[in-house]
């Protein structure tokens, strides 16, 4: 039975009747089911307008819930309705047309015209969101009901971007309204629940909606916990992308703690259980939570040492490098490196945040002459930060480190970041060190550092270093070929001046 739903006033402006919360959840399901089963009316399947029924058309109940009151996505004009406004599909098509027009003007160099067109698009979009209080609901149904367009289908891609933008703005709108008036939170929760319900329809859709709308955003709440845990369970059975499940669980836990819906003790207890017994998504999400917790970090690090789980170690090192205080992060990074996850990425990340912390850690280990592999990574992280302090760290390593491999790493950093004179002198100094200049393997590695000078256009430095390297007896045929290749790109004909 169709129940008329007034288009105005804005239903989001008051608490939604409880039954609509669940009906709204069914809307995208209905759309998916209808598309899959080919149940949508021909007019609705025939093109982009399928995203919504025309406002002035007879009410159309979602087929999959035909015996229930229709979803809030199905609007029926009330008796005293104002003059018919545009439908969602009509707005979308106009936005697509404006987008194409703006692209054409921009490509033709008509900046003023493009700006004017862009203003038209903004006004049109604002009008759509103002006039259609359930635009985000229609956008979700459209996204769930239609697959990713081909790369050359420009209107199709624009249309999908409009749908995504409408959903994003709609979620933000409902979130703002919920913050202002908690009684309106159900409107947000329902839309989020509907989005979660749509995710298992396909991996591409799961990535698109989860990454674009839910991950790292404040929308997931306790009411969504069963749905998120269901997705996590599906991922354990390889029926849902594990990375999406993990990110959603991480976001949910973050929000639960931030909103005060779960105490940190309660979450930590759950995470601990999942860390040891959960599936891959659960273990990773739990690890990410626990490594940020001062009380439980040691447990995670102990697990990394015992299990030598390199993938988890790399992932947690990246989390630590981004989110923990530098000194604490270094503890995680050092543990990850010690178990074999000796990737440079987390050190580079931390170097961009706080070179000073890396330098302090390096100096401590240099003074004690311990952990040469960790020193190597610390020099990489600091040396490529692109700051004067980072360059000083690399210079210190080149001048003072007893480990030849750390010195080679310092040369890479200095050739990439320190400018012409310092880069060239760094290579020259390394060549003077017999542990490098007379060692075929290290010398071959050093040759690769010349590429940094080539990329900076330092042809004179390359000319001089190339001449010297060609005469070095430890240069292997393979390293010689690498050298000539680099010189050929940097110097005319690959010829040095002598």
């Amino acid at each position: 039975m169709a129940v008329p739903v007034p288009v105005r006033p804005d239903p989001a402006a008051r608490p939604a009747p409880r039954r609509w919360r669940w009906l709204l959840c069914l809307a995208p399901l209905a759309a998916i089911a209808a598309v899959w089963a080919g149940l949508l009316p021909a007019t609705a399947r025939s093109g982009p307008a399928a995203a919504s029924a025309p406002r002035d058309a007879p009410p159309v109940a979602a087929p999959a819930v035909a015996d229930a009151p229709e979803s809030p996505c199905t609007r029926t004009p009330v008796d005293a309705a104002p003059p018919a406004a545009s439908t969602f599909a009509e707005f979308v098509e106009r936005l697509v047309a404006i987008g194409i027009d703006t692209s054409r003007l921009d490509a033709a160099g008509d900046r003023e015209g493009a700006e004017a067109s862009d203003r038209r698009a903004r006004a049109e979009f604002a009008a759509m969101m103002e006039q259609l209080p359930d635009a985000e609901c229609e956008a979700l149904a459209a996204l769930a009901g239609r697959g990713e367009p081909r790369a050359d289908d420009v209107p199709g891609r624009l249309r999908r971007q409009v749908w995504n933008l409408a959903l994003r703005i709609g979620l933000e709108r409902r979130h703002r309204q919920a913050l202002a008036a908690p009684a309106r939170r159900p409107a947000l929760d329902t839309l989020v629940a509907a989005t979660l319900t749509a995710l298992p329809a396909g991996d591409a859709l799961a990535h698109e909606l989860a990454e674009g709308q839910l991950e790292n955003r404040p929308y997931l709440a306790a009411v969504h916990e069963p749905a998120v845990l269901d997705l996590v369970a599906r991922s354990g059975e390889h029926r849902f992308p594990a990375d999406v499940a993990e990110a959603l669980l991480t976001t949910l836990w973050h929000n639960l703690q931030a909103n005060g819906e779960r105490g940190s003790e309660e979450l930590a207890a759950l995470a601990l259980a999942l860390f040891h017994d959960g599936n891959e998504s659960e273990r990773r999400a739990a690890g990410r939570l626990l490594v940020r917790d001062d009380r439980w970090r040691a447990v995670v690090l102990q697990h990394l040492r015992a299990a030598k789980d390199l993938e988890l170690a790399r992932e947690l090192a990246l989390v630590a490098a981004q989110q923990l205080a530098p000194a604490t992060a270094l503890e995680v990074l050092a543990t990850a490196a010690a178990v074999g996850a000796d990737t440079t990425a987390p050190f580079l990340l931390l170097g961009h945040r706080d070179v000073g912390a890396l330098r302090q850690a390096y100096e401590q280990r240099l003074a004690a002459d311990t952990d040469p592999q960790l020193r190597n990574l610390l020099v990489a992280g600091g040396g490529f930060a692109g700051t004067p302090e980072g360059i000083e760290l690399a210079r210190l390593a080149l001048d003072s480190d007893p480990d030849a491999d750390v010195r080679v790493r310092a040369v890479f950093a200095l050739t990439a970041s320190a400018g012409a004179a310092l880069g060239e002198s760094a290579v020259a100094r390394a060549l003077d060190d017999p542990r490098i200049g007379a060692d075929p393997q290290r010398l071959g590695a050093l040759v690769q550092a010349l590429d940094n000078l080539a990329q900076l256009g330092l042809s004179n430095a390359l000319d001089r270093l190339g001449q010297r390297l060609r005469l070095m007896p430890a240069l292997t045929p393979a390293a010689r070929a690498d050298l000539e290749h680099i010189l050929a790109r940097a110097l005319p004909g690959g010829r040095t001046s002598r």
Binding site: A114, D118, F125, L165, G340, L348, Q441, Q448, D482
Partner: protein, 140 residues
């Protein structure tokens, strides 16, 4: 990972020298090309880019600040056969930085791009090959 792979590269590379009198019974193991992405910024475009023999792909709206690309290389592991390894080159480990270049004029950001900013060589990884020991078969 095999225990022997923990041998520092340059220490392990010295093993062939000993092979004149003793075969180290080692061989190479391929380490597939890989990349690690740094944090991403919101952008209406991600990346799908071939760099150093690796296709680096990000989420569709995530532009990474950087990616570390490690090409295919080899490590040394134990062998049951009378073989040893020798280095026949190096490959570059790359630090690739990106920035989001939004064509903000377009309301619908069709042409947003996550652009490659700079490529730097941050290190070298060994290219190794396995060869037969000349004559000796003694394990060391």
């Amino acid at each position: 990972m095999h225990a022997l792979s923990a041998i520092p590269l340059f220490a392990a590379a010295a093993l062939p020298l000993l092979a004149q009198t003793a075969c180290p019974h080692t061989k190479t193991k391929d380490i597939p090309a890989s990349y690690v992405m740094g944090p991403t910024v919101d952008c209406d475009a991600g990346i799908n880019l071939a760099i150093g023999g690796v296709t680096v792909t990000s989420a569709q709206r995530a532009c990474p600040l950087f990616a570390v690309v490690t090409p295919t290389h080899q490590e040394i592991v134990k062998s049951d056969l009378a073989t040893r390894t020798e280095q026949n080159g190096n490959a570059q480990e790359l630090l690739v930085t990106f920035h989001c270049n939004p064509h903000y004029l377009l309301f619908v950001r069709l042409s947003d791009t996550c652009d490659l900013d700079r490529t730097q060589v941050i290190g070298a990884v060994p290219l190794l090959r396995t060869i037969e020991c000349e004559s000796a078969t003694t394990r060391i």
